[in-house]
Symmetry: C2
Subunit: 205 residues, 2 copies
């Protein structure tokens, strides 16, 4: 039987919601899913390997990738470029493996334009109060900065409507279980499995 | 916060695939989901209680329910009527509880006409050979009867396209886990949870 193509899962959500923590917890569960590897112009840190943590690129190479539409999304952050190479995602999906991509809300919307068949998961805070206390809890930011981050987060939550699923990050384990349920469920969608059954029935005729 | 309405899950699949066995295994897991109670004109057996195993009806009452469109679906089977009362399903959903309904493929399509917002799950055999051996394994049916049941099953599998999900019943536990994943996932769908977040954001303005 022909191998089914993998599914791209895009995990995003407002700044402060805990995307990184949830993604780390998912990784520790050793699911049968590939984590996307980003391209970056930042210099490798001690122990980081090309093609594992990142694809390390010069600025010229990165700008060429943008120019040649080889990135699903990209952004500049503190003077360095970061982006998701389409080629890596596509070749992994072609091998029949699912890919998970953890990115910011704006980046996820870029991905959706190029890759509408992806599954878009929005990680949401249980409440705005809880989001505020997570942002406050991160460090010693001023009241103004906190209010600013809260209003950005609220704008990001309004972008939830472009996503397929909303997963509440009330507890990390619960959020991970919901994401795993979504991965299982997406593989059961009739649109995805019908061709296989039509082949079975066709072969039997 | 306003209580979210429950979701109707309709579990169906070709005759012989093991719907009853999977549903029984699900029940034993004591999920937070209500099993639909059918109406029937069949006489109660020892220990069966009205409103628990079935709603017991006279033939006149049942025909009235059909006439008044009070059934999501119905069928006649060996001289008795069986059907799903809309009222029971709707009032359970209104309480915020999910409902699961296990029925034949044709009945499920009737439900879909009246209740398109339901989630339709098609239980599929891992292969046609496996389905045949399950049908054979049931008893002492003749080769002709088995072939007949197989061709009915194949026609039913073609109706999978009207469903949302296809769950392979390779092993009961695995099938149950997929169904549980679908239940969890459907509660994460953005269309369902967005009104809640819009309210949170609205209240905060």
């Amino acid at each position: 039987m022909e191998k089914e193509r993998g599914i791209l899962f895009v995990l995003s959500g407002p700044s402060g919601v805990g995307k990184g923590t949830v993604c780390k917890a998912l990784r520790e569960q050793k699911l049968d899913i590939q984590y996307s590897v980003s391209a970056t112009t930042r210099k490798p840190r001690e122990g980081e390997r090309h093609g594992v943590e990142y694809f390390f690129k010069t600025k010229e190479e990165f700008l060429d990738m943008i120019e040649n539409k080889q990135l699903l999304e990209w952004a500049e952050y503190v003077g360095n470029y970061y982006g998701t190479p389409i080629e890596y995602v596509n070749s992994t999906l072609d091998e029949g493996k699912d890919v998970i991509l953890e990115i910011e809300v704006q980046g996820a919307l870029q991905v959706k334009n190029i890759f509408p068949e992806g599954v878009f998961i929005f990680l949401t805070p249980p409440s705005l109060d809880e989001l505020r206390s997570r942002i406050v809890g991160r460090g010693t930011e001023t009241e103004d900065l906190i209010n600013n981050r809260m209003s950005v987060a609220k704008e990001e939550i309004e972008l939830m409507r472009h996503y397929d699923y909303s997963v509440v990050n009330d507890e990390i384990d619960a959020a991970c279980n919901r994401i795993k349920a979504i991965i299982t469920t997406e593989h059961c969608r009739v649109d995805r499995v019908r061709p296989k059954y039509e082949k079975i029935l066709g072969d039997d005729k």
